[in-house]
């Protein structure tokens, strides 16, 4: 397996002056509320372990206050950990000195913010160029690279406008252009689309996915919207009260939620459109006339295929047509509609 791009190990964050001092108690299992009541410290993150493979989109989900923003800010050390390691491409971000950290932020990891955080006194062009200016590049170079990204996010007609003159969706395209302009390996997106209207948000998701097929960045994407998570994420991690509850492929989380919290999150998901048939297939064989369902087919399509062929059973096949297993109408129905309880 490829070495992960980002590896977070044993990460704890406790806000407050006494953070280090109370760490042992948190390690021994003291809860968030108890910690706040007895020591006045806020538990931000507790024992987070997470690996993000290169060129993948890692989604982090959780309710408001669950520590998503805190977690993503550890990756470029806008927040310093109380304990633990954040290894990015082999180097611990927590141990970098000031100059190394600045270089890291300038060249390796960029961030897109929920409320855009654009510079109101700079034009769209100068906002997109901000990271390059900070790097100290020559202005002709900056101009050329910024123009390219302004075009790439579709703002060529607005390059000389100011952020205040743009709609929210356009502002976030500036934010995305600004982040991409430095050509970082890592893109950190903290609820980047949460402030946008549903339609605009959908457009932005498309734009991100388009860009990703071409650019292949390692992206950490925070959201509290499950549909967005499932649409965008190669992997999903779920946070609750600063702790990691579950990590996995989107469909694993939907099919086998780790606890009631996750089950609650995923209860309204349209599994028929999300889950692929191989994740519910059973071993076995069926008659040769059974309809073949290629691996990767979503449940809804598989059900349609069975019902059109008026068959109770279908065989799941790989790309060459070799049978891998079987799937029944009943299994399909069950996987699509039955309320999922966490396995004990």
């Amino acid at each position: 397996m490829a070495e992960p791009m980002i590896r977070i190990q044993g990460l704890y964050k406790i806000f407050g002056a006494a953070g280090e001092a109370v760490l042992p108690m948190v390690r021994d299992g003291m809860g968030k509320q108890e910690l706040l009541d007895t020591h006045g410290c806020v538990l931000g993150l507790r024992d987070i372990n997470m690996s993000v493979p290169p060129r993948c989109i890692q989604v982090v989900m959780g309710l408001s206050g669950s520590g998503k923003s805190t977690l993503i800010r550890h990756i470029n050390r806008l927040i310093a950990p109380t304990a633990g390691e954040i290894i990015v491409d082999g180097t611990d971000v927590a141990g970098m000195d000031g100059a190394t950290l600045r270089e890291f932020r300038r060249h390796r990891a960029s961030m897109v913010f929920q409320r855009f955080a654009l510079m109101p006194h700079r034009s769209v062009r100068d906002n997109v160029a901000y990271g390059l200016t900070v790097q100290g590049l020559q202005s002709a170079d900056v101009e050329k690279r910024a123009s390219r990204w302004i075009e790439r996010v579709g703002l060529q007609d607005f390059a000389d406008r100011y952020p205040g003159e743009l709609s929210g969706g356009m502002q976030q395209r500036v934010g995305l252009g600004r982040a991409l302009a430095t050509d970082p390996d890592i893109l950190l997106m903290d609820e980047a689309f949460s402030a946008l209207d549903p339609l605009i948000r959908y457009d932005m998701q498309n734009m991100l996915l388009d860009l990703q097929t071409e650019l292949k960045k390692t992206i950490v994407f925070i959201t509290h919207d499950l549909d967005e998570a499932l649409r965008i994420g190669d992997n999903v991690a779920i946070l609750r009260d600063g702790g990691m509850v579950q990590q996995g492929k989107p469909q694993d989380i939907v099919l086998t939620p780790a606890d009631d919290y996750v089950a609650d999150f995923v209860k309204d998901v349209n599994r028929g459109k999300l889950v692929r048939v191989e994740s519910i297939m059973k071993p076995g064989t069926t008659c040769a006339s059974a309809p073949a369902i290629p691996i990767g087919t979503r449940l809804e399509r598989a059900a349609l295929a069975l019902s059109e062929a008026a068959a109770k059973l279908g065989k799941v096949t790989d790309r060459d047509g070799t049978a891998l297993g079987i799937v029944s109408q009943l299994d399909l129905l069950d996987a699509m509609v039955r309320r999922r309880r966490p396995s004990p």
């Binding site: 913010f113 955080a117 510079m119 109101p120 006194h121």
Partner: protein, 299 residues
């Protein structure tokens, strides 16, 4: 004679002690100014040159070229023809009533002291904004500076530097500097934290953050401070005429001692006219910037 009981008359310090304390402090300060006065004067020498040069420039230039320059400056900063028209009327009035030279002296004094107040005040304001401890120390100092009667400033300055332009300049700057310090501090503290975080996230150094984000975003607020500083400098210029500062304050002072009401009134009006022009120009400038930023914030 029996002394009154302490609950009837305030138990005050012995007169002799008080006199001794005053003598000691005054003596110490006088010794200090005797031995260091020359050094300090030498330090301010370049400032004096600049002040004199600027005053001569204004006085020697033809009146219409000064008027033109003032109008151009007013228009470039405020973008308002009304303000420019007001400035023209005011300067014609000043020139017609024979107050042109005094006005030029006052303007050069205001210009130099404002520049000096900005040059000193903005860095102090920035330091205050960076640390709560500095703020806790500087704020009460500023409170004292702003409430202390202006005449009191004159005493140590005169003791140290005598009478003339430089001590006048110093007194004006001390009197007028608090607003620019306060509002620089405030403006920088009010800069949007998310924008600061963004600049950090892109690897900006402390200096890049200050120059590229904090100062530009605090600029409208700093300008409001500069506006107040100019107004206070203008007020102080009259008082500073008591220690030999040339300009519109001199005739006012003469009018008081000789009871020339009309002379006093005319020069007072000239000061008011200057104040209004400076105020409108610097305010319009600040407002223009603020509008641009506000728009930028809630588009």
């Amino acid at each position: 004679m029996a002394k009154n009981a302490w609950w009837i008359e305030f138990p005050q310090m012995e007169r002799e002690t008080l006199v001794a304390i005053r003598k000691a402090l005054d003596g110490a300060y006088r010794d200090f100014s005797r031995s260091y006065g020359d050094v300090i004067e030498a330090v301010f020498e370049p400032l004096l040159y600049f002040l004199v040069w600027f005053e001569k420039l204004l006085l020697n230039a033809p009146w219409w070229s000064v008027l033109l320059a003032v109008c151009a400056l007013a228009y470039l900063t405020s973008r308002s023809w009304k303000i420019v028209a007001g400035a023209i009327v005011a300067f014609l009035f000043i020139g017609f009533f024979g107050m042109w030279e005094d006005t030029m002296s006052t303007m050069s004094m205001i210009a130099v002291s404002t520049l000096l107040a900005i040059a000193l005040g903005v860095p102090v304001g920035i330091l205050m904004a960076r640390s709560n401890r500095t703020q806790a120390v500087v704020t009460p100092l500023l409170d004292v500076m702003q409430t202390m009667p202006a005449f009191v400033y004159l005493i140590p300055v005169v003791m140290l530097l005598g009478i003339g332009k430089v001590p006048g300049l110093l007194a004006v700057v001390i009197y007028a500097i608090p607003p620019v310090i306060r509002l620089t501090n405030l403006g920088i503290r009010l800069v949007d934290r998310e924008v600061l975080e963004a600049s950090d996230a892109f690897g900006a150094s402390g200096w890049q953050r200050l120059v590229g984000v904090q100062i530009p975003l605090a600029f409208p607020t700093i300008m409001a401070g500069v506006n107040q500083t100019i107004m206070m400098a203008l007020a102080m210029v009259v008082i500073a005429s008591m220690i030999g500062v040339q300009g519109l304050g001199q005739p006012v002072l003469r009018s008081i001692t000789n009871q020339y009401f009309t002379l006093g009134l005319l020069n007072g009006l000239a000061i008011v006219a200057l104040a209004i022009i400076f105020d409108r120009v610097s305010q319009a400038y600040g407002k223009r910037l603020q509008l641009q930023y506000k728009q930028a914030h809630h588009g």
